[in-house]
């Protein structure tokens, strides 16, 4: 059984010019993370390089390793599992969070979120595309010609 941990998430939004009055939102939650995978890291992406996937500038972030293959039955987000993904584009070009192609194992599929330099995200993810093992991988990919980005991420799964 996977170990349970708690992650406290905070989102603060404010703006003085979006509406006629100042907007301030402060929201926080404690999420019980009891899924198989908990990962964090910082990656430097380069659109001129084939890092470890079939798509230039893309890196797989769900397998706990540098290879996009070795799918097996123990890596990737399982079916009927929720996950929260935190992204922070520290610098560089716009970077996409992409999921595995439903029809081709270990192939980069649809873009599901995009963050520009300086932007961040806290994304509840519920996979809709799965490979032959009923699991899915997530990838980060930098977009553009001869561009780079530095992105940090955290992925934590919930069993339901």
């Amino acid at each position: 059984m996977a170990r349970t941990a708690t992650m406290n998430c905070t989102v603060n939004l404010s703006s003085t010019d979006m509406f006629s009055d100042t907007m301030v939102i402060s929201a926080s939650s404690g999420i019980s993370m009891d899924g198989e995978h908990k990962a964090m890291g910082t990656v430097q992406l380069d659109s001129t390089l084939t890092h470890d996937t079939d798509v230039a500038g893309a890196v797989q972030i769900t397998g706990g390793g540098l290879t996009a293959t070795g799918d097996g039955s123990t890596v990737g987000i399982p079916i009927n599992t929720r996950a929260y993904v935190f992204l922070h584009n520290i610098s560089g070009a716009i970077t996409h969070l992409r999921q595995e192609d439903q029809d081709s194992d270990d192939t980069v599929g649809n873009t599901i979120a995009s963050v520009k330099a300086g932007e961040m995200a806290l994304i509840p993810y519920n996979a809709t595309n799965f490979d032959s093992n009923n699991r899915t991988h997530l990838y980060l990919q930098v977009s553009g010609t001869s561009v780079k980005s530095i992105v940090r991420y955290v992925i934590a799964e919930l069993s339901a």
Partner: protein
């Protein structure tokens, strides 16, 4: 144009072997017509969060706070262009940047059962 100042923080004492403490802050330039902040009771019927779709070549930043349902285990499904993208439990918050450069984007939400109280905002961001 307007500026949305955002901060996202993650903390945990037991997620990894060492304490986790991440904070990211930045300013997001908001543009476009699809900016709104609301609170709504969402049922099992599909509820469109942005009646004015986010334009092609833009992204929408979607803020969602699941404030609770009729019962504790009611989940809120976030739907993007007819596909369930994420599922949130009561009390959870999210800040989601979603883009589809091939067309306009409509977000919606559906309660897994009964009614969920949901606070949400949709903010449009130009990609370039």
């Amino acid at each position: 144009m307007a500026t949305l100042t955002t901060t996202v923080g993650l903390t945990s004492t037991d997620l990894f072997g060492d304490n986790l403490s991440l904070t990211a802050s930045g300013s997001i330039t908001i543009s476009g017509a699809s900016n709104a902040l609301q609170n709504h009771s969402i049922t099992t019927a599909n509820y469109v969060l942005n009646p004015v779709a986010v334009q092609a070549d833009s992204r929408g930043y979607l803020f969602v706070r699941h404030r609770g349902g009729d019962t504790e285990d009611q989940l809120l499904k976030i739907v993007v262009t007819s596909t369930v993208f994420g599922t949130m439990a009561s009390g959870e918050v999210a800040l989601i940047p979603l883009g589809d450069r091939s067309g306009t984007i409509t977000y919606s939400a559906i309660a897994s059962a009964g009614t969920c109280e949901v606070e949400f905002g949709v903010f449009e961001v130009t990609n370039t």
